[in-house]
Symmetry: C2
Subunit: 143 residues, 2 copies
DNA sequence: TAGTAATTTATAATCATTGTCATTATGCAA
DNA sequence: TTGCATAATGACAATGATTATAAATTACTA
């Protein structure tokens, strides 16, 4: 659905370029929480001359507009999530993968409703992240 | 209470060095969530030849041992918190300060009891962070 | 008090991210 | 449709936090 990516870019006031469209299509439905470098290396096959700067720039604009999430969970690099709906993340220290954690998962005693709150202690809240770190199931089983 | 810092270091199996003692005393009760550089620049007055590596090394060891928290909330650098008790953080995008947010604050619909949970979706959880980002009260008032 | 293993320090290296600026492409207006 | 102002792109250099290396020093154990 190329149409959606065009609409999205227009809605947030960005010019529609082939690079941006390709980036958005790459991100659409992507559950791997890629880094800028991950995205860059995939775009290179389609745009051999694309610059990392372009990737960073577009990702920053999309995050500003609230279309994607910039995750502060990987200690080595920023990770990006096209899923803007409220949910949380788990980072595996061993393999480096980031997994989604549904907000409704039973371990949460109550419903956070985090994003409904306008402020905390008088501070204006723009984004909320609930981050878990540890060792993922697979890495744990491999000992 | 120099005695406490000695005990703490011994308890987690680290050698007691003057640098480490000074670092721990600097951190004790510190609510500013300093970066490694912040800590380094204060230690330099007492130890003119101290290395940044020593600061990073000690902070990493303390975090591994669970004595301090390594916060992934400031997009530019790691921040450290000597308060190991469960609580959350707010980062101001304008001034860069990090504020504590008590776990009991009313906006939390339920009690997370985050640290009591051994795993999520089969993953082993070691640490949890709930991070808010936005504009702090003071910066907001200054427009 | 000596030995050894960890720690510290000086220094260089790494690497994600950002800045600069010339070139190019987009979208609006005529 | 064309031309233009402006934004976006790409090449490249720079930044800056963090990590690696290795030699010198120090802390702790026996």
């Amino acid at each position: 659905m190329q149409y959606m990516t065009v609409r999205l870019l227009q809605r947030i006031g960005l010019k529609v370029t082939p690079q941006r469209q390709a980036l958005l299509e790459l991100l659409n439905g992507n559950k791997t929480h890629p880094s800028a470098e991950d995205i860059y290396s995939k775009l290179v096959s389609k745009f051999p001359r694309i610059s990392l700067k372009t990737v960073y720039n577009t990702l920053a604009r999309l995050a500003e507009a609230g279309e994607i999430q910039e995750l502060d969970i990987d200690p080595y690099r920023k990770r990006f999530d096209p899923n803007a709906a409220p949910h949380h993340h788990f980072y595996c220290k061993i393999c480096g993968r980031v997994f989604d954690v549904a907000q409704g998962d039973s371990f949460l005693a109550g419903d956070l409703n985090l994003l409904d709150r306008a402020d905390v202690n008088g501070h204006q809240i723009d984004t909320v992240q609930l981050n878990f770190k540890g060792v993922c199931k697979e890495c744990k089983e491999k000992r």
